[in-house]
């Protein structure tokens, strides 16, 4: 079987298996059939993973898959760009299905499996369809399938908070989908039954205002889905609410689908992105990442910390994309493709470590029955294997060598330094700002990950749940370990990872219809990625550790370690003496109090009116108005106000309705004649 046949069989096969998984999950009444559904999910993912890897490693040209042209008017096509994202989707969904196999049964009381299993299959199917669509109609349809199924998954546990978060998510997702629909309508001349490639051909004929409008709408659609500031407020609310394997899919893959959409649409329609838009994307990405990484250091729920970290990483991805587009537009294709290489490597690494961290958080939640970081602690003794995997993932997210994300950031820093050599003021200035931002983000990410790992796994447990926790069963911890190993492998093999990236790394290659000239492809490939320096750094780090250990052994021979109880001055040491996660981030909140504005309300009331000395005090501490209060609620208030005005028309008086109809008829006739 050739690679082409494998792809042609594997990708539709994956979709078919997922359809069966959805049906089985819907029909399931007992654990047996549900496990069959999970097995089908996993089988579909494995098939898709193998097919996308085959497409990548064999460097196949864009391939048409079997398609129902009547329904969508355009075939399903897989090219290098979609194969890269398909690899991420199927890899993560495979792990999610493996995890859900056990987690779904154990948490059946919290997340009804008859809802979760079929919706997960539909969710995966939606992402799969978005990646394969070459037509606007099918792209929109699968995009909606992805949004709506994930909306239901967010509120799967049925609590009031989850419903609130899910509705916020739905509002943003539907606004984005509407913007995408209108944007496609503007670009496609009022029709959605066009191919994506055709959207670009009609563009030059449009007036400049329409072009800007279309770009704005498309950019809003994708950036709001990916959680770019200021459209990110839904993300840290919604992602932690879903079952953990779905959180892993949402943070690990769904955000990347939005990145894919932005790459695809801008590659087709705006081969040279206007400078203003590139700069805006870079600025919003970097600014959002800064705010998000600070929030990650303040959040007190593991999954919420991870969600904020996703906002940060996606912000960095958008900053890289913006800078790459800027460099490309100013005639530096090598620089542009190197930064795109860093971006894809980062996307890849983030998918691995974030999915792993979310699955691990699910395993912690499963064992300790709480995700509040202040109630955890001491899990390293109770869950040694899971802790080891989570430590690796936290290091990967920090990002430290030898993991994949470090290689990506290293490549970015190298490229940013290279941009100083271009001598163009704009590039140098933006590069310098980005470099500073990346340094800040890297430091703060280390802080956030140290906080996440230390207060979850180290010291003494701070609640009964954490004290009684035990090692999670193998199906829950193995996917976490596999993802940790994959992240490690990506970091170690980064210098040789370019066949897995959508090379050639030029946006001209991702327009579906026109594969680039072979010469251009070769040049761009040669320009692509990663030096072996991160690896050398990692090796140096490991070497330094080994040397320190050896020196300790050689310089102090025969020194024995005596293990005794910690000296406690006669006061038994317990968890109330521990440094808390809130205390750990207190200096940060202090130094950044202009950004992290918090409102503290102290109220004292006299117990007896005549006695001023004995008082009862209460303190309320809440985060000051964020994006939700400043941006979302005013918009919602405006829409509600308009709705209230429009309600005057619906006053229940039938004569008024008849008069309205008459007026409408007269106006229509007047316009028509």
């Amino acid at each position: 079987m050739t690679a082409g046949q494998a792809v042609a069989a594997g990708l539709p096969g994956a979709a078919l298996l997922w359809v069966f998984a959805a049906i089985a999950g819907l029909a399931a009444r007992g654990p047996r059939v549900r496990q069959l559904a999970h097995a089908l999910l996993a089988a579909g993912s494995a098939s898709g993973l193998l097919a996308s890897l085959a497409h990548q490693l064999a460097a196949l040209p864009p391939l048409k898959l079997a398609a129902p042209p009547i329904l969508f008017g355009a075939p399903f096509v897989v090219d290098r760009l979609s194969a890269f994202f398909l690899m991420l989707l199927h890899g993560v969904s495979l792990m999610a299905a493996w995890f859900g196999w056990r987690y779904g049964e154990d948490e059946a009381a919290k997340y009804p499996p008859r809802l979760v299993v079929p919706l997960t299959a539909v969710f995966c199917l939606g992402m799969h369809g978005v990646l394969l669509s070459s037509g606007a109609a099918s792209f929109l349809l699968f995009w909606e399938a992805m949004s709506v199924s994930s909306f239901f998954l967010v509120m799967a546990d049925g609590t009031a908070d989850s419903r609130k978060a899910a509705l916020l998510y739905l509002a943003v997702a539907q606004a984005g989908a509407l913007a995408l629909l209108v944007g496609i309508g503007v670009l496609g001349g009022g029709s959605a039954r066009v191919t994506l490639a055709a959207l670009g051909t009609g563009l030059p004929a449009l007036p400049p205002a329409s072009r800007t409008l279309a770009l704005g709408l498309v950019a809003f659609a994708f950036t709001s889905k990916a959680g770019l500031a200021p459209f990110h407020a839904w993300l840290p609310e919604a992602h932690p609410r879903a079952p953990s394997q779905v959180s892993a899919l949402m943070s690990g893959v769904m955000l990347k689908i939005a990145v894919y959409g932005l790459l695809r649409f801008t590659s087709i329609c705006w081969p040279a992105l206007p400078d203003g838009w590139s700069l805006a994307l870079a600025a919003l990405g970097l600014g959002g990442a800064v705010v998000a990484v600070i929030s990650a250091n303040i959040a007190r729920d593991i999954k919420r910390i991870l969600a904020w970290s996703s906002v940060e990483n996606l912000g960095l991805v958008f900053a890289m994309f913006g800078f790459s587009a800027l460099a490309g537009a100013h005639g530096h294709p090598r620089l542009a493709s190197a930064i795109l290489g860093a971006m894809f490597l980062h996307v890849f690494a983030h998918a691995l470590f974030k999915a792993g961290l979310f699955l691990g958080a699910g395993a912690v939640l499963h064992g300790a029955h709480t995700a509040k970081i202040e109630d955890l602690g001491g899990l390293a003794n109770r869950m040694p294997r899971l802790s080891a995997a989570m430590l690796a993932l936290a290091l990967a997210a920090a990002p430290l060598p030898p993991f994949g994300a470090f290689a990506a950031e290293w490549l970015l820093v190298e490229s940013l330094l290279a941009s100083f050599g271009t001598g163009e003021l704009l590039l140098v200035a933006v590069g310098a700002v980005l470099l500073t931002g990346v340094a800040f983000l890297a430091g703060m990410a280390v802080f956030a990950m140290v906080r996440l790992f230390a207060f979850t796994f180290l010291a003494e447990p701070r609640s009964a749940g954490a004290r009684l926790a035990a090692e999670p069963p193998a199906p829950l911890r193995s996917p976490v370990a596999v993802l940790a190993l994959a992240g490690l492998a990506l970091g170690v093999l980064a210098p040789w990872a370019s066949p897995l990236l959508p090379i050639p790394l030029t946006r001209a290659a991702w327009t579906v219809s026109a594969p680039p000239a072979p010469a251009a492809a070769r040049a761009a490939t040669a320009a692509a990625p990663v030096s072996a320096l991160p690896l050398a750094l990692a090796a140096a780090l490991a070497g330094a550790l080994v040397c320190a250990w050896l020196a300790g052994r050689l310089l102090a021979p025969g020194r024995r370690v005596r293990r005794v109880r910690t000296w406690d001055c006669g006061q038994p040491i317990d968890a109330t003496m521990e440094y808390t996660a809130t205390g750990f981030s207190a200096p940060l909140r202090f130094f950044l109090r202009d950004i992290v504005t918090a409102e503290k309300h102290l109220v004292f009331s006299r117990v007896h009116p005549a006695n001023p000395w004995i008082t009862r005090g209460s303190m309320e501490f809440r985060k000051a108005a964020g994006a939700v209060e400043r941006i979302y609620l005013p918009i919602a208030g405006f829409i509600e106000g308009v709705g209230a005005r429009l309600k005057l028309l619906q006053n229940g008086v039938i004569q008024f309705y008849v008069a309205l109809m008459l007026v409408t008829l007269m106006l229509t006739l007047w316009v028509a004649l």
């Binding site: 005596r562 005794v564 109880r565 000296w567 406690d568 006669g570």
Partner: protein, 178 residues
């Protein structure tokens, strides 16, 4: 300037009062200059000239030994001049001075203190109670002598031993130490 010298000599210099004899002859308790000198020599030879830190552990004494240990630090005996001092934590201690017969309620604390001290740790049993259990030996409330809980290197008997006895005992006990 004779005037300035006069002012300085009259107002700023410490003035000697009394008979001019050394104050150690005022008391009835005979100090032991030769033992103190021996102990100082031993301590300065022990850790390359560094001082020796003592942690006092009360394992159930009558407080008589504590009074004598406190007296070691006063201006009269002043063991800091010999390179010995009391510290507040076993983590900083080279010597544990244990007093009293070890009562059952403090046996665990004594053990924990010994574990917390860095090794090698010199354990000194101060007083009859710590050395043998004394009149409390065999009581249901006491474990007995200190060496029933942790190893003891030096025993200083007495009920209570005077500060001089303690200095002499330390000097005798540490004489062979290296």
């Amino acid at each position: 300037m004779p005037l300035a010298r006069l002012l300085r000599s009259s107002a700023l210099r410490p003035r000697l009062v009394g008979t001019g004899r050394s104050p150690r002859h005022l008391g009835g308790d005979r100090p032991a200059p030769e033992d103190a000198a021996a102990l100082r020599a031993i301590v300065s030879g022990l850790y390359g000239g560094r001082s020796l830190r003592i942690r006092a552990v009360d394992a159930g004494s009558t407080n008589a030994e504590e009074l004598e240990l406190t007296a070691l630090g006063n201006a009269y005996y002043d063991i800091e001049r010999l390179g010995l001092s009391f510290v507040a934590s076993p983590r900083h201690a080279d010597v544990l001075m244990v007093t009293g017969p070890v009562v059952r309620n403090l046996a665990g604390a004594l053990r924990a203190t010994y574990d917390a001290a860095p090794s090698p740790c010199i354990v000194v049993a101060v007083g009859d109670g710590a050395c043998t259990g004394s009149i409390w030996k065999g009581s249901y409330a006491v474990v007995g002598a200190v060496d029933e809980v942790i190893p003891v290197h030096i025993r200083i008997p007495g009920d209570p031993p005077s500060p001089d006895d303690i200095i002499r005992g330390l000097a005798a006990g540490l004489r062979g130490a290296r």
